[in-house]
Symmetry: C2
Subunit: 240 residues, 2 copies
């Protein structure tokens, strides 16, 4: 995490965020950045590719790298982010209430598991509020094979912080699906859903760096409060 290109990425990103490189202006050329950071061009280019993927810049051949207007992405639910991280990037008064924390088997259905194998896990149900309004119910199944003890404190604060900083787990990637569904009666009450209204459900399976399946998550959002913001690059697809 302390590679040169990562530091260069951070430095340029900060300069963009703080307006030192304003939107619509050009970054210094790659050769100038080489001099600036005292590195080779490929290293600078690795940093720029990361900024490109994050939507910070656009590279134009023969011209340079243009700074994009990053202020649009005020509420990114893209990528894997924890509730706590989301709140820190915003400035909102939020609370987390742990409703349940107990051992349970992962339900084979619902997550599209083909196996009959019963997966032992810790079941965590949490209610999230923002500005005193209930917004999200988060349901986690954390596989006991990977983590067998979760203190209530960790669930109240941030599971990801506990897993990464305390346990040193290397959370790497996840698959997610977003659908709109009818809430259960319990969900309707907890989130104060009006009659006939649906909820947005984000189901995800999270994996560690070594491809170990690690947790199942169901995140149930009030539909009227739900917003998903994304930056996407076009992939020209070829062949098969």
């Amino acid at each position: 995490m302390e590679s040169k290109y990562d530091l260069i990425k951070q430095d340029i990103a900060n300069k963009i965020i703080h307006g030192i490189y304003p939107a619509s202006s050009y970054l210094p050329s790659e050769n100038e950045l080489c001099d600036l950071y005292g590195t080779s061009r490929e290293t600078v280019r690795k940093a720029l590719v990361l900024l490109l993927e994050l939507g910070y810049i656009q590279k134009i051949k023969g011209k340079g790298s243009i700074v994009l207007d990053v202020s649009r992405f005020v509420f990114p639910v893209s990528g894997i982010k924890s509730f706590k991280e989301l709140n820190q990037s915003q400035n909102m008064h939020s609370t987390t209430k742990v409703l349940t924390l107990e051992p349970r088997l992962v339900p084979t259905k619902g997550f599209g598991l083909d196996q009959n194998s019963e997966l032992e896990a810790t079941y965590i149900e949490r209610l999230r509020t923002i500005n005193d309004e209930p917004i999200i119910i988060d349901i986690d199944y954390v596989l006991s094979k990977v983590v067998n003890d979760i203190p209530k404190m960790a669930a109240e604060n941030s599971l990801y912080e506990y897993f990464e900083d305390q346990l040193g787990l290397d959370i790497s990637y996840a698959t997610k699906t977003i659908t709109v569904e009818e809430p259960t009666e319990r969900q309707r009450q907890l989130l104060k859903i009006p009659p006939h209204k649906d909820v947005v459900v984000i189901r995800s399976m999270t994996y560690l760096n070594d491809t170990t399946l690690f947790q199942f998550t169901e995140s149930i959002h009030r539909a009227d409060k739900f917003s998903f913001v994304d930056f996407a690059r076009r992939q020209k697809l070829k062949g098969h």
Copy 2:
């Protein structure tokens, strides 16, 4: 688009899709791939990074590159994809009916435009059906500054195909938001939405390679038919 690393990426991706490199197995090592394709290691590595981002493989230091189970991603709405491309990856009977195609100004509200400037555009409204069921209404505002004539044929077939292949436009990136909203009466009728039911709205702004804003899109989905599938990698964020 015919760079060595892109060809290597395609070749490996195809081998993964066709099971020549099965899920959970290791790819040949980077040095072996160098010999196989007759390139330097950095070139092979560029190809592998692309596969990593697409969720085809996972790299593990000291061990190798593992093939992930890519069969999960059967319905990716992630990235920028056209309806036609989506259908081709699936095998579904789909139709597109052009309801409206006429010059219009882009509505300043709705897309969060701060300007008072009135943007001239071509307005296109299309109804998408899958297996004879109405599923999506696509509304496009294509800026006249970039494209000033759109034949009805192009709208019936694929706008992206027309823009990219016929006009040679370089569509590069987009910002998207997903929300759940009450449909208009017209939308309710077209999509046959039951009373009290909402729709999913995907709004996007699409840009060309040179950062020119190019089109606004509103994609209105029947909530009960909506599904968004995504692969996401965790970003460890630092500093500010």
